[in-house]
Amino acid sequence: MKPIAVLVSLWAHHFGALEVFLESRGPVVLLVPGSAASPELLELAARHGCEVVATRSLLPPRYSPAKRLLPAAEALRGHLAGWEPEGVDPVGRELLRRLVAERMDAELPAAVMVLQSLAAARACYDIRLYATTEDITARGRLVAGWAASHKIPSLHLAHSIALADPYTVHARLGADKLAVYGARGAEGYLDLGVAPDRIVVTGNPAWDGYAALAGRRPQLRAELDQEYGLDPTLPLVVFGTTWMGHMTGLEPPGDTNAASLRAFLAACEELGRSGVRVNAVIKDRPANTSRGEATLTELLAEGEPKLQRYVRCTAHTREFAVAADVMVGVDSNYLVEAMLVGTPVVNLVAEGLAILGPTFDEESGVVEAEPAELAGSIRRLLEDPGFRAARLAQAAARIGYYNRGGLDGQSARRVGEVMAAMAVPPPESPSAGPVRRIRTLWGAVLARVAR
């Protein structure tokens, strides 16, 4: 009997779900597609007494994909040379063929390696589940396809709420099941025609930790004031930056990150001119370290000297969500995080990006503002207590629609239970009698735990 394993490609901040799964199941082998496991996974595995195996390690040390790659690549190249996309002129056709060839060069060697390492893993282990945060990117999509063709159940734990309807490569579900945070996260997929029984509403394990922070607003604010030199007497207005990845034609030309940031800065300056001083914090992504600082510097150098003081940061994401007096974002999950902890939010309806919306509904207490309305919206939330309280009450009543259970901190448990319920052997297991009985027993135990 082969050791039982699960194939794991979850982001570290979703590991809470894996913990719950392992607590209910006891140790299993954690297979990681690729060549290395993250330190966080190794640490978790050590705590649960699990072995971690990177699938690449199951291939011979001197493995090269060439033997399987060359015939496939050659055949695909031959096929590509005969590809006549409909309605495309000869120049366009040549360009498209070149783009495909470039992607083949870039992706196929890794793809062959991944599939061969998965085949080796399947020879060694009884793989019960594939759990992933990505079923769309190059490897995620390939592994989901492999799991499907080997009848290994797969769960895609959404890496965000799809506030914009899923487009192009996102407009499909590669895994068997999708775990969404709240009903809102299912909407785009349901609109696309994904069957409701493939979607399960769990909440986001990464947000479970907010429960502990939500009541600590004054302390967190004081700590942030200290850390970033903010003025404790002025309100804190946080802007979560936005990004587009050239994955939809609806993304406008130019730098969407800079354009929305410019709108935020303009609104803060407008507030300054009307006598409202604030701590303006630009919460950027760590991935944007080099470019983000430069963009902000360039934008701040435009026009008149600035009336407000601006702080850019890439850390303390949660603390800022809790401590902010107003959170501004563009169709962003960060706004939902703020809603979770009772911070009022403004969704900047940005030129170009608006066509991807409407991302929120009226019942959710989100203030929608076009660039010209942004200063007024921030000011009203800061200065009109009735308006502010009404929006917060709306958001509080609606938060479960975005994240099941709101701040109950149980999302990891719910995802872990879904994983456990999925990771049972198929009912018509071809195994011999005794083995089958053991598996069935295990399945029954699991089913009870998952209930």
């Binding site: 992607r103 192009t168 490569v169 509403v201």
Partner: protein, 335 residues
């Protein structure tokens, strides 16, 4: 009447089906606003009588209208609403059931009016934005079955820009069209006999409906709008807010995909139609890029390794490359 609403939300925590939202929330307010406006416009004489059934599916109109006609003064008119049979015929083809019999068709109305020694003065459609009362395929289908549409419509309750636009579309566009375009009609019957007039009314309507090739619809709207250009001007002002433009784009894009000959440019200024065309092209590029990335390797058996299509790993990067380089969408153009 709520009996034809869909079932309550499933216990899975997934959102409820959208079609149950017909004439509820902000759409109920819009319907009420439009009805009040129609009554104010149509029931202008002192003796006029108004019969409004504000149920989502008004009952049999004959039963309401007959006794009211008996009591109507000699110069007065009866203003009443009903479900539109012409609309149900367009959107739910097939034998009319009980709901169909309760609805009002223009040809039948003309015969009824003649038999009752009355005259049909007007049949005005309204409620096209509400969707379909019985979950059928409305002229906004499939858009009005989406959660996306529900989110957009929810803002009518708070956002004056979108609410004004919706009211404008109902009052200036829908009401100018034949009764087949909307689930409800507001009818005006006058208390004097005019059999020839009634027959003529029915005939004009039959022609309008049979000719409702979509281009004609734009013509019909323009024909009813008084001085040339004011429609575009008024609509253009309502489309100043970005949020309203996105809402309008959804609607017009839906209508033109339902009626390929419908050309919304006839209602828009060049700047607006340019923006809408850009959004339409972008949506088309998304569909094409996704299709191209998937189709190129069709039929190549060697793409399969370990029962898995190797080319799945190309999709993500390939769609991006096609959008960036084949469609050339993201470079900012100067000038």
């Amino acid at each position: 009447m709520r009996s034809h609403r869909r079932a309550a939300p499933a216990p899975t925590g997934l959102p409820a089906d959208v079609p149950g939202a017909f004439r509820t929330g902000p759409l109920a307010s819009l319907a009420g606003q439009v009805e009040a406006g129609l009554v104010a416009r149509l029931a202008t004489r002192s003796g006029d009588v108004t019969l409004l059934d504000t149920d989502a599916a008004p009952g049999d109109w004959r039963r309401r209208v007959r006794p009211a006609l008996q009591r109507l003064g000699p110069d007065a008119r009866l203003v009443f609403n009903a479900l539109s049979k012409d609309y149900l015929d367009l959107t739910e083809p097939g034998p009319a059931g009980r709901r169909g019999r309760a609805a009002l068709g223009v040809a039948e109305l003309a015969r009824f009016a003649t038999a009752a020694q009355t005259t049909v003065e007007a049949v005005v459609p309204y409620g096209a934005l509400l969707g379909h009362p019985f979950g059928g395929r409305s002229l906004l289908a499939p858009l009005d079955r989406t959660h996306r549409w529900r989110r957009g419509v929810s803002w009518l309750a708070r956002d004056d820009g979108r609410a004004d636009l919706a009211a404008f579309l109902e009052q200036r566009v829908v009401q100018a069209l034949p009764p087949g375009v909307a689930p409800y009609v507001m009818v005006v019957l006058a208390r004097h006999a005019d059999p020839a007039g009634n027959a003529g009314f029915a005939e004009r309507h039959r022609l309008a409906l049979s000719g409702s090739g979509a281009a004609d619809l734009v013509e019909l709207v323009r024909a009813q709008v008084g001085p040339a250009g004011s429609l575009e001007g008024d609509l253009d002002r309502l489309l100043t807010p970005l949020k309203a433009r996105v809402f309008a784009f959804e609607l017009l894009d839906q209508l033109s995909s339902r009626w390929p000959a419908f050309d919304p440019d006839g209602l828009l200024t060049p700047a607006r139609s340019g923006e809408f065309a850009r959004w339409r092209r972008a949506k088309a590029a998304d569909g094409e890029a996704t299709r191209l990335a998937r189709e190129w390797s069709d039929g190549c058996r060697e793409r399969v390794l370990h029962a898995t299509d190797l080319t799945l790993s190309l999709d993500y990067g390939l769609v991006r490359a096609i959008l960036e380089q084949y469609y050339d969408l993201y470079e900012e153009r100067l000038g």
